[in-house]
């Protein structure tokens, strides 16, 4: 196959997705509404009364968007999801399924913590970037193992990244229980605290003292721009997309398949590593077991929901962040378990991924939608 064919294919997809209002606006809105409706039915089925359901959804809204604090919480939760989601989306674009974000987040976070507590006396202008770079490099190296195995031996990245995740849990556990990482005066697995000079500075505490929003959101925004530039404005990004759309065509067009796989995985790992750094340098200030909190798996959903497009990933990261922040409020005020948010997230994904299903349930809304 000639290279032009690949170009046409890429262009066709980009153009179609850019102008399809039904796909990009109506379906997501309906999906959220339907998911909330079904969530309400589930609450009814488990014995939650109507007033409590009303209170839950009010809390869900006020907890995510209703105040400066709520918006700060939403953005704080959205930053790591967006970063890790971008990594997974990039891998999807190149035809790779990176389930390993969780491990890459953990290792990236550990590297950031180690650098973060190791160099007292450095100015923040050097220390913080150093910690971030360490996180990106650690995540990239960890993910590149899976990429290299795929390129060199053909080992399926789904297996290798799952196994690397499992390996990573144990590795982090070991690091947290032993010097030099473990905090000297503690017996439980917990790391030393990150020095002030390596912390992601809070952005809004001049407005209100409790606002947790930190510079990680800027890192995430920059990452969105970077990934968009990489994918759509560079030759290597074109090669990534070509390899994902048609690996054989890409190889016959002279692209180096092995190199592409390793590079994609490394960049994906770097982004996930930054998500880990975002948690330890911005939110927690140290590492504890399971500090990733499943972000790596939620990020898969974020990437899928964002259609593996950088801007889409940002939007779905914000949505998931809002649900996360609002869900906490919902649990606190209405006594409805935070786990319901997981159900709503899953339903949103199902409805967005199945526009035909939405059309079946709500035919009046999508009359104009083609196909």
């Amino acid at each position: 196959m000639r290279q032009e064919t690949v170009t046409e294919e890429v262009l066709r997809r980009a153009v179609v997705s850019r102008f399809d209002v039904g796909q990009l606006v109506i379906v997501p809105v309906l999906a959220v509404v339907l998911a909330l409706l079904i969530g309400g039915i589930i609450m009814l089925a488990t014995g939650v009364g109507f007033p409590a359901i009303g209170r839950s959804y009010v809390a869900l809204f006020t907890g995510s968007l209703g105040s400066a604090y709520a918006i700060s919480e939403t953005l704080t939760a959205a930053a790591p999801l967006t970063l890790a989601g971008l990594g997974i989306a990039l891998a999807f674009r190149a035809g790779l399924f990176n389930i390993g974000a969780e491990g890459q987040i953990l290792l990236g976070g550990m590297a950031a913590v180690v650098v973060g507590f190791s160099f007292p006396g450095l100015p923040i202008a050097i220390h913080l970037p150093l910690a971030l770079i360490a996180a990106a490099v650690a995540g990239a190296a960890w993910a590149a193992i899976a990429g290299w195995l795929r390129a060199a031996t053909g080992a399926h990245e789904v297996i290798t990244t799952i196994m690397l995740n499992l390996t990573c849990y144990r590795l982090v556990d070991y690091m947290l229980r032993n010097p030099p990482v473990q905090r000297p005066d503690r017996a439980d697995p917990i790391s030393r605290s990150v020095l002030e000079s390596a912390k992601l500075p809070h952005l809004l505490d001049w407005l209100e003292p409790g606002l947790r929003l930190h510079a990680g959101i800027i890192v995430a925004a920059l990452a969105v721009v970077f990934v968009a530039w990489l994918l759509f404005r560079t030759t290597i990004g074109f090669e990534f997309r070509a390899a994902g759309l048609n690996p054989d065509a890409a190889r016959y067009a002279g692209m180096r398949a092995g190199l592409i796989i390793v590079l994609v995985m490394a960049i994906a790992g770097a982004l996930a590593g930054l998500a880990g750094a975002n948690q330890v340098l911005g939110v927690l200030g140290r590492a504890s077991p399971n500090f990733s909190g499943g972000i790596g798996f939620d990020a898969i959903a974020v990437a899928l929901l964002g259609r593996s497009h950088p801007v889409g990933v940002l939007l779905s990261g914000l949505l998931f962040g809002a649900l996360e922040a609002g869900g906490r409020q919902m649990q606190a005020l209405a006594g409805v378990s935070l786990d319901l948010i997981g159900v709503i997230q899953a339903l949103i994904i199902i409805f967005i991924a199945a526009p035909m299903l939405v059309r079946t349930i709500a035919p009046w809304a999508l009359r104009r939608m083609a196909r």
Binding site: G47, A152, A155, H156, I162, M163, A301, A346, I350
Partner: protein, 422 residues
């Protein structure tokens, strides 16, 4: 002419990657040989005693004693030979087998090293291996059934979790057998949901799988914190105890390992056997595989592709639901949030590792079960290696094996593609 040229390039690329794979395996085996010699052979002395008889066995078998140091040197020498063999002509054919045997030998050397001067119940460990392999084997089998009709099933994890939850709740209300039936049916329902999404609504299969996983995790955790914490009697199911198969359970070593187990273990054996027969020896199975390899051709021959996919994915869900019940009805009798803990993903690995074959998936599951129980039992022996690293070893070994053995395995040709009828 262009076609021949590209084919030649393709063949050359394949040839090259095989050669490189062989060499990677060679270096790995050599490194392993050095590792075994330095770590397991040099510092060790004494004999390792492996107990082969469990309390309560019909016949007592004497302990198996192995002199630790000489044994480790023999293993190191064999590994070095296997490694060198990889660099000689005609090695590619032996790469997989030698790597497998090599890793097995290294594991035995490790065991003798860890046991040197002490005694260790080998039979007990093997028994635990089989128990821990069950959910992975059943999950892998569910995966095989789905992928053979070209539906990727990432949702195994969710189906296992759904089975575990349904088993606990229904088991508490209806008793063990009722719980098992409901758990299996609930697994089947989620299989049906997956089929509905990917076959009828043409949702991307990976998205559908991930969504079902999230959905089940959310639903079960929500129900557990909202309902089960209040009504505790709903989460107190009876557990299926182990029972002996007459005569067979009296065979030394093999008896206790294979024939003194609970319903789920026997169920797993039987289901794997049935699935193998179904897929490879019946007309319907042949049709199912045809749908997985070339749905257009199958359709032309009058096979209903959609129906085939619905049936097989639902069957996969039923199997996964049964496997999920193991977590509650087969072990502890109560449900905890996310209690499958990634076992569904390991099952996915086992399926690929077992080359999309039921028996292969079972074997791979046994490898994971072995690693799991090994790590647990070794904690008793107290080795100088930190337990975290012991726990890592099986996963690293899997990566090595997958890189060495499975590189050339091939999924069903139409795997992951929706079928759109014109």
């Amino acid at each position: 002419m262009a076609v021949t040229e590209t084919m030649a390039t393709g063949m050359k690329a394949l040839e090259f990657s095989r050669r490189r794979q062989t060499q990677v395996a060679g270096w790995l085996l050599l490194a392993l040989a050095v590792f075994v010699a330095v770590v397991f052979a040099l510092p060790v002395e004494g004999e390792a005693a492996f107990r082969l008889t469990l309390p309560g066995d019909a016949f007592a078998v004497p302990n198996l004693t192995v002199p630790a140091q000489p044994y480790a040197y023999v293993v190191a020498a064999l590994l070095a030979f296997f490694g060198v063999r990889q660099f000689m002509p005609g090695a590619a054919r032996w790469t997989g087998i030698l790597l497998g045997i090599g890793l097995l030998l290294a594991v035995t050397a490790f065991l003798t090293w860890a046991t040197a001067g002490k005694s260790f119940s080998l039979t007990g460990m093997l028994q635990a291996t089989v128990v821990r392999a069950v959910p992975i084997a059943l999950g892998g089998l569910a995966g095989v059934l789905c992928e053979r009709v070209a539906v990727i099933n990432i949702a195994i994890e969710g189906m296992l979790l759904a089975g575990a939850f349904a088993g606990a709740v229904a088991g508490s209300l209806l008793g063990g057998v009722g719980g098992l039936v409901v758990a299996t049916a609930v697994g089947g329902l989620f299989g049906l949901l997956l089929a509905l999404l990917v076959v009828t609504y043409r949702v991307d299969q990976i998205i559908a799988g991930v969504a079902i996983n999230l959905l089940v995790l959310g639903l079960t955790s929500y129900a557990s914190s909202q309902v089960l914490t209040q009504y505790r009697f709903l989460n107190n199911a009876p557990v299926f105890r182990a029972f002996d198969v007459p005569l067979l359970s009296d065979i030394p070593v093999v008896g206790p390992v294979l024939f003194k187990q609970n319903l789920f273990v026997y169920g797993a054996w039987i289901l794997v056997a049935i699935a193998t027969y179904y897929l490879f020896h019946t007309r319907t199975g042949l049709r199912a595989r045809a749908v997985g390899e070339h749905p257009e051709a199958a359709d032309t021959l009058g096979i209903d592709v959609f129906r085939m996919r619905y049936i097989n994915v639902t069957l996969g869900g039923l199997v996964a639901g049964f496997g999920g019940a193991w977590f509650t009805l087969g072990s502890v009798g109560r449900f905890d949030d996310n209690m499958t803990d990634g076992r569904g993903f390991i099952a996915l690995a086992a399926m690929i590792f077992g080359r999309w074959h039921p028996v292969g998936a079972l074997m791979a599951a046994l490898v994971f079960g072995f690693a799991d129980s090994l790590q647990q039992k070794l904690a008793i022996l107290g080795t100088p290696i930190p337990s975290e690293f012991l726990a890592m070893a099986p996963y690293i070994a899997t990566i090595v094996l997958v890189a060495g053995l499975i590189g050339r395995a091939r999924p069903p040709a139409a795997d992951g593609k929706p079928y759109i009828k014109d």
